[in-house]
Subunit: 440 residues, 3 copies
């Protein structure tokens, strides 16, 4: 038991206060309003550049931002409440680590993407990106759900956000890959990072907690709140930072149809793989969402509606099969205990989405994209790349992401093995009472 | 029992795969991005027609679309979770059939409304209309909730979407009626279609399942999630496809006040008709929403705020009285078993809304509408109709809708009687365990 | 028992019908569509003032309105469902009184702010303000939750909305204070008004109902739905009526960071003050939101992101300490029974927010605000005030608000003591069965 001092009375306040104060100091030194958020600067734009308030990016992106925000805090938070005795930890630790991650990623992403004259300039787009980055952390959280203390989770967020920022910088700014909806940067990275953390933190005695690693009737309904919100707003997620105009609308539409097709594939496959033809809520809650993941990279491209539907259909199929056949093998053979099955929802569909993105990029033609090529593939439009080369870059971006995730997750997992971080004993996993006052 | 082989192992996958693959093929052949969604075409608009990205319809309609989308999947889905043992079926079959219906209705409505040069052109407005159409199917689902298999529901969606498209085409394009919020096309059609299906599928032995046809404490709270979201976003529903500018704003405001008034009428009537003066959650969950239905046709018109409030007040009153007095009679006398009381929430308020629309249209004057007449009543504005004639057309549109709904619902109900579609036996209605893996 | 005739069969219908009919009559006499909602008037704007439909305020404010609307009906409603046996009353009485308050406040605020030529002109901004005003009533509802009948609540709404309108008029139009997110007008006013009502309605025998004044496992999860939605959409709340452009975006960003910091402070403090280092859901559900309240006044100002984070951090800290140490003292010493702890979430953070607003206003300089000064501080921009004087006015606005709240709450509380308003006996508080049909 000495390795599992789960009393957080001093440790949790200490780390929360430290992280928050450190973040505030860095914000004070580095972070400033950008040209659209500052009273003085925006009014200079209005008077000197003939703009109107309608041109403020706020009106192009705020509705999408709020949908993404809902996905992060309601979607991910409630999706994980399916466990019978871990509802508090699911929704509230999700809340805690996302609230930290959005601050920390504003700094990390700011250093890489909007650092000018020694200052980070922030606005609505940095808020969306911060929420995106916290999404990757929450995916990793899904893999270790119920087996980690909030202190471990905050440290994981600290390191993972940093690595996310580096990987994203390499992909978007060095390799020149496109990944607006994050099939690679968010889903593939978050899933394999989390799976490696879970691998390193392998619990051989977890069977002693298995009786709590399931749902009760109402916990499955709470989880459906998360599922449906993720499903509804995924079109906003994939389109939130694409170019204005046709790009945002096309991304929304591709995602919408991909999700619809993955839903039918999930119901079909769920009944098919069950001995009695019954549906399984775990599949519906998760695999129906794979259609959003799989068009994360290609959603802004001229994928065509039926292309999006084929992609979604395959993603739902693969994801459901993963839950049925792969998750048990990951556990028994590879010692990867994946509480929420993030490998099925984010891992495989993320990899598929990256490959699909590479393919669709390689097929891009001037005839199909017209002058819109500059928005989707600026490096093809300005003649510095061919479509084939863009596709190749997309493929290498996937490999880089997998590398960062696997190496990073292993190192961070090792760090989290430090005793005194308050992780629960094997007999007390998936149990709120360790960290929460729970009424009977 | 032979008529009730509820094992779906092969049947459900077969129908899901078939419907999805058939849809994908039709999309591949017929469906294309429209001028606002295609990279090439939108950039032609930008350069040749002096447009800016701000003019893309996406920015006028996407927030409303997402509200409608939330109503369809969260609103309808959770509203039906009030049953104590049918929460999975409510929210998840809702999910399944809506995910199919939005695809199928994109095709059907596309053939009628945006078929040019052999192709269907789609964008944000077709997505809203597809969600609208699935709303009608979900209303019908409410009438047969707990008594039908997912296979029956998918077939119902297939046929109902098709009939919806025909009826809508006749109303809007042939008769020239206005019905932006769908008092007729969605609510009246969906309700009476579903009631006829339920009539044809009458179960004389349903008493054997009555002990499950009620709520428990927490299932009523889940249902309130659905109720409140429907109530909140109904202004977006009614305004989602009205003309830009004053029309959208006016429709929102009329719906907002109508709903507020129907809420007070519902609480008042619920206490009044209860022997002990206690409130009934069934009334609050449903009748408070009647204010949204009743201004579905007239919401875009110059109804005036107090006119909207009177309409909402009457709708809340009538709807609550319907739950108390009419639903038992429908069951005992007319053999219509209406699980969710859709006759009270969508049927009667829909008919009232159609009549109100006819009245407000007949009263339209140039003095009140000014140049805005062209947006609301284009056929009056261009001189091809008088206001009185428009009102008459509105009235006939209601009769046509009732005809399509009653005849169509009867035929489809008869089709769904086919054995081997997996419907539950009378003793096992309102029970998730037939179709779902349920943890104790 | 004679003082507690809780049968509402005639009383509730009577007051609902009366209030609704009275409101409809006043709307018929006084309320008209404004220039952006009327078909004729908006088309005059289009043709005579060279406007386009994009300029309609609807497109600047409707997404924010719907977020605020969700906070009022889902956020407040579900936040209060934490009680084990008062879920119906929480979400449904919230629904009832807000549905009335938005109508009544349209009239009251209309008389003070948009009364021209004998008519009140309404549009999207009046809808946001009506929702804001109902927010104040719902805060007061939190203080008396479980101890009042719906009749008392409707009467409280009637009087409180009226006083809210007067206080708001004095602050904004007489004193010239700024308070876009309502730290004073909504939170401080609503909290102290409700606390005074609760003080006057003090129940010495409330211990007989204490066993129901707590949560069960799933009721805490329902409450988290309310919490997370309030947290998500608070940026929309504070920015909903600020000026277009940089103001809306800046307010959103300040609120976002303030909330993130208050969340970490809440988790830290919750673990710190608990004997065993366990977290308390009551704190997470409430104190994490204090960051939204505390920047209600200053959010639109050039607060800087790190300034917002410091404010949020302190608010979360103070609020959690309030739940732990102050609420018991209020009850035992001051005889204020504050069911939801509104003093901790809205009272103290509201006062802090008012003081912060005064400070930030006093520090305003032309160098920082540039031409944006006219949007934030019009009276400084036009030279009629110094920044110091603006700060002083902000401070007096707080005192005025406290005066209105304390005196108003006392008087209204005394009115609500009238017998025959159906309040529950001390033994039956926090119990749905008094007013609701409840299935076992």
């Amino acid at each position: 038991m000495s390795g599992h001092a789960t009393n957080l009375r001093l440790k949790l306040p200490a780390i929360c206060f430290l992280l928050q104060l450190f973040t505030i100091i860095l914000f004070a030194v580095f972070v400033r309003y950008d040209r659209e958020t500052s009273a003085r600067l925006w009014h200079e734009e209005l008077s000197h550049h003939n703009k109107s308030n309608r041109d403020n990016d706020f009106y192009f992106r705020y509705p999408s931002f709020q949908d993404v925000h809902t996905m992060i805090f309601i979607g991910f938070g409630f999706l994980m409440t399916f466990l019978k005795r871990y509802g508090f930890g699911s929704v509230a630790f999700n809340f805690l680590i996302a609230a930290f991650a959005i601050q920390w990623s504003t700094l990390i992403q700011g250093f890489f993407h909007s650092f000018h004259d020694g200052k980070i300039h922030i606005g609505i787009e940095s808020m969306i990106n911060a929420d995106f980055c916290s999404g990757a952390v929450l995916i990793s959280f899904g893999a270790v759900l119920g087996k980690t203390s909030p202190i471990q989770l905050l440290l994981m967020a600290l390191f993972e956000v940093t690595l996310f920022g580096i990987n994203e910088f390499v992909l978007l700014s060095v390799v020149g890959a496109k990944d607006a909806g994050g099939s690679m940067t968010i889903h593939t990275f978050g899933a394999y990072f989390g799976l490696m953390v879970s691998r390193v933190l392998y619990r051989p005695q977890l069977d002693k907690s298995r009786q709590r690693e399931g749902s009760v009737y109402h916990s499955d309904l709470f989880a459906m709140i998360g599922t449906i919100y993720l499903w509804l707003f995924w079109p906003s997620f994939n389109s939130a930072i694409t170019a204005h105009g046709d790009d945002q609308q096309r991304t929304v539409m591709n995602t919408y149809f991909s999700l619809a097709a993955s839903t039918l594939a999930t119901f079909a496959t769920s009944a098919l793989v069950n001995g009695e033809g019954k549906l399984d809520m775990v599949h519906i809650q998760n695999a129906a969402l794979a259609g959003g993941v799989v068009v994360g990279t290609s959603g802004e491209m001229m994928l065509t509606p039926f292309g999006a539907m084929i992609a979604g259909f395959l993603a739902g199929l693969v994801s459901t099969l993963g839950f049925k056949f792969l998750t048990p093998i990951l556990d028994s053979r590879l010692k990867i205990q994946d509480t929420c099955g993030v490998h099925n929802l984010h891992g495989m569909p993320g990899v598929l989405g990256a490959l699909l993105g590479a393919l669709v990029a390689a097929l891009a033609t001037q005839d199909v994209y017209g002058d819109g090529m500059a928005d989707v593939f600026p490096l093809i439009a300005d003649g510095s790349r061919t479509a084939t080369y863009q596709g190749t870059c997309q493929f290498f971006a996937l490999l880089i992401t997998l590398g960062f995730a696997v190496v990073g997750g292993s190192l961070v997992g090792a760090t989290l093995k430090i005793r005194s971080l308050g992780s629960p004993p094997d007999t007390q996993c998936f149990e709120d009472q360790i960290y929460w006052e729970v009424n009977p």
